[in-house]
Every structure is written in structure tokens, then in C-alpha cells.
Amino acid sequence: MPGPGHYLALAALLFTIGAVGVLVRRNAIVLFMCVELMLNAGNLALVTFARLHGDLNGQVMAFFVMVVAAAEVVVGLAIIMLIFRSRRSASVDDANLLKY
């Protein structure tokens, strides 16, 4: 019978896998997808806590996280496309003009 600890352990595991993905991957779009995975893990934690306390505000917060993630994906992908158009590369290692 999975209790709240099980769901939160799964959320923590997914969050960490997303964090490792952000560190390791260099394609900008895959990096972005790893950030989305971290947001999803946070959503799972929020929904679990909502069920733990019997309070629906957790689900409302998860809903807001989804909306903000959608807006973030729209703007972020537009920026990635813009960088690709001018630099012809989707690798985050190549966008180093501001490097000292």
C-alpha cells in the first residue's frame, strides 16, 4: 500500500534524474525537456501533499505550475529557435559569446 513517502520518493528520484540530465546533456531542447521533468516531479509532490493534508490548495498550486511551465516552454523554445537561426547550432556549449 503506497503511502505518501513512496510518492515523494518517486518525485525526488524523478527530480534528481532531471537535474543530472540538465548537467549532462548539451542539446538545448533536451536540456529544456529535463527542466520540464523537474517541474513534473514538483507537481507530483504537490498533488501528494494535497492528498496527505486533504487540502485542495495543493492541486491548485500544481495547476498554476502547469500553466507557468507552458508559458516558459513557449518563450524558451522561441529563443532556442532564434539562436539556431543565427548560429546554426542547438548546442548550449556553442552559445558562449558572453564568456569572459
Binding site: P2, A12, T16, I17, L37, N43, G54, M66, A70, A90
Partner: protein
């Protein structure tokens, strides 16, 4: 009826246990597959698998509205947006296997494992003795079920946040339009007469492009069509696809010159 309710509750609980222990490895496998996949499109598909299993988790945890929003909005809209942008931008730029920062992968693996163990055991042990509250009763208090139960705080207590996130979505859409807008000067755009004249000018082929390969031997779009002398026609395959090499049987002639 009161005797059947504990049985129903026990059935629901064991059903939830089945769903959890079946889908938790699936979600984890999707996450790991997304991080480790070489091809960016494969990464997106692994993430879709994870998001779908998370949607099922939300439904099982008495949040059916959020579960369906997860499937429809997150998986259906956001991941499709990712796939469209991959189609335009990142499809053939796979990560090279050589890591430019020394020790980055080892450090990421070690620290990642440490963080996972720390967070997972910390949260698991902190919540060891607690029980889930009965959210089904909260959902049943409203005639509209979970949807109305989520709408009640959303439109009363959090209405300001709701309006602000709506404005944020509009700003994001307009911002994406502005960022990707290509500015064309007035005289730059070629008229239809110019396009037609250039099409029939010597040196450019006016007909349609040849379609991809022979469907009798392979149904892949990456199979090139064959010219009359047997070589592959380079114009018959899309430039972003890797041309599928013809097998020996397919490259051999069809013996029609008997």
C-alpha cells in the same frame, strides 16, 4: 452497504498499490531513457511516457482533473510543441559523445546519486507513519466532483493568480511571435511572375520532386528512388532523413530485361 464499504475501500487501495508499483518503474525508466537517449526525438518520446504515467498517478491520487489536464495540456500540447521545434531545429544535432568539461559526467553521476538518495530517504522517513487523508470525501462534497472542488479555490481565493497566469500566457504567446518574426523589406519579396520565370529558367528543374523509394521492397520514406541506370536519386529523399542504404537484394536489378 456498510459492510461492503471496507471491501470497496480495500479494493481501491490494493488497486492503487498495483498502479503505483507498476507505473513507478515505468516513469523512472522514461526519465532515465530521456536523459540517456542519443536522438533528441527519442528523448521526447521517453518523456511522453513519463508524463503519461504521472497523469495516471494524479488520477489515482483523487486529482482526476489534474490528471486529465496533465495528459491533454502537458503531454498533448507542450510535448507536441517540443516535437515540432525538434523537427525544425534540433533533429540532426545529436550530442557528441566527447564531453568538453573534464569530469563533468562522473561528477554529475556521483552527485546525482547522492542527491537522489538524500532526498528520497529523507522524505520517505519523514513521512513514514503518516496516512493519506480522505480526499474523496472532499471531492464528493461538491456536486461537480473534483472539477468543482478545484474550481472553488481557484476562482475565489486564487483568482488574482489565475488572472495573472492568464495574462502571462498571452504575453508568452505574443513574445514568441515577436521573437521569431522575420523582418522582410518591402522590395525583397519576389512576385509571382518572378517566381514563375525563375522556375522555368535553364538550370532549374520545373517538375515535381521524385517520390521516395520502391514500396514493393521497403516502406521506409528514407529509401531513395532509383534512376534508370540504377543509381539512387538524391532528390527523392528529404534532406533531414539519413538515406537508408539499399540492401544487396534491393540494389540488384529487377531482371526485367529478359
Amino acid at each position: 452497504m456498510t459492510a461492503a464499504q471496507p471491501l470497496l475501500a480495500a479494493g481501491a487501495q490494493s488497486g492503487e498499490a498495483w498502479v503505483f508499483w507498476l507505473l513507478a518503474p515505468v516513469a523512472t525508466a522514461g526519465a532515465v531513457g530521456m536523459v540517456l537517449a542519443r536522438n533528441a526525438v527519442h528523448s521526447a518520446l521517453w518523456l511522453v511516457l513519463t508524463m503519461l504515467s504521472l497523469g495516471v498517478f494524479y488520477v489515482v491520487q483523487s486529482a482526476p482533473f489534474l490528471g486529465l489536464v496533465q495528459v491533454i495540456v502537458y503531454t498533448g500540447a507542450i510535448m507536441m510543441l517540443f516535437l515540432f521545434v525538434l523537427m525544425l531545429v534540433g533533429r540532426d544535432s545529436a550530442d557528441s559523445l566527447i564531453e568538453t568539461l573534464r569530469g563533468q559526467r562522473v561528477a554529475a553521476a556521483v552527485l546525482g546519486t547522492g542527491l537522489a538518495v538524500l532526498l528520497a530517504t529523507g522524505t520517505f522517513q519523514a513521512l513514514a507513519g503518516t496516512q493519506m487523508a480522505d480526499l474523496a470525501a472532499v471531492n464528493a462534497a461538491y456536486p461537480g466532483g473534483n472539477i468543482q472542488a478545484v474550481a472553488d479555490p481557484l476562482f475565489s481565493r486564487w483568482v488574482l493568480g489565475f488572472e495573472l497566469t492568464g495574462a502571462l500566457l498571452i504575453i508568452a504567446a505574443v513574445g514568441a511571435l515577436m521573437l521569431t518574426h522575420i523582418v522582410r523589406e518591402k522590395g525583397e519579396r519576389r512576385t509571382q511572375a518572378e517566381l514563375m520565370r525563375a522556375r522555368f529558367a535553364p538550370g532549374s528543374y520545373p517538375g515535381p520532386l521524385p517520390g521516395p523509394g520502391v514500396f514493393a521492397t521497403s516502406s521506409s520514406n528514407a529509401t531513395p528512388a532509383k534512376l534508370p541506370d540504377g543509381t539512387a536519386a538524391a532528390r527523392s529523399i528529404s534532406p533531414i532523413l539519413k538515406a537508408r542504404e539499399l540492401t544487396a537484394r534491393e540494389a540488384a536489378g529487377k531482371e526485367t530485361e529478359r
